[in-house]
Symmetry: C2
Subunit: 165 residues, 2 copies
Amino acid sequence: MSGYELSSRFEASVGSTWSAGHSQIYPELVRLAADGLVEAGEPGPRGRKTYAVTAAGRDAVQAWLADTEPDRTVRDEAALRTFFLWLMTPEAARDHVQDELDAAEQSLDGLRLLAARRRPATPAERSQRIALEAGLRTTQARVGWARWALERLDDQAGRDDHPPG
Amino acid sequence: MSGYELSSRFEASVGSTWSAGHSQIYPELVRLAADGLVEAGEPGPRGRKTYAVTAAGRDAVQAWLADTEPDRTVRDEAALRTFFLWLMTPEAARDHVQDELDAAEQSLDGLRLLAARRRPATPAERSQRIALEAGLRTTQARVGWARWALERLDDQAGRDDHPPG
DNA sequence: CTCAACATGTAACTCGTTACATGATTGA
DNA sequence: TCAATCATGTAACGAGTTACATGTTGAG
């Protein structure tokens, strides 16, 4: 697969959990090739370079999966902003949550499209389906949250003195 | 509030959505002070330095909230690994998902504790409660996903030829 | 012929983590 | 007195983003 292709596929498949721009991928492929984890194939039409995983590369992935703990650090800017809802005008706060709702619904549409494709046949596809399900469920949760939050904000608007504008 | 205190509170409150180590906080406070967004107060007992937000600082936060779009980039290493379930032995795959389940359940316990505290009284507390709800719901979704995934893996184990060990 | 998509790279910068380094105060 | 906790910093490194920079191929 070429760097360009990797870059596109990243967006399309694992893109919901991780992303990488081409400026990160090209140098990394060179590095991986130097380490013998991938090897370059025949150059294609317009300067296209393809790489294939080597046995050592596959081992390295498996070693990573087996020997290292996942880093569970979360970094969710939209959620962070929710902590500061009280610094916004009631309208801005509502807009923020509405934006979250829209974003989540849109993301959900995309994921559902992927899920509807064809039923997974290979082990790799079955894994992808399981990973996709995680996205589906957490995104549904975000949709549910945003609807709940909107109601709650509207409820509060009736009673409260609003913070500074 | 001092840098040390900020560092601890980060962990305890917004920690579920964002984190920062002390090595990031101390230099940042110096920078913010130089920009007039916070100001240093009287030094305390053991070299303790306290800072307070200035009006300019509050404005800057509000400008950030109002003028910039949240970055919705997700980076979820545990979810990424799920894409590679098929490269693991069936046991390792199951363990991975079980670890996710354990982590999610533990995180959920912590969030529930926070949610049970006292009912929010101030606008800031109400915002925190709404933010917390997001954590609660997405974490519940992760628990649900992990249980579903375990069942699915066990189902498959009965039928499939397993990939390389 | 021209535009979109294919295709690859480099450089500067920012953000965050890990490790290094030090010292004061308090309670057991 | 000794350990934990409070308290603050710096330096090196790695990961990732943005912007810069260039060239090819195919379709309309």
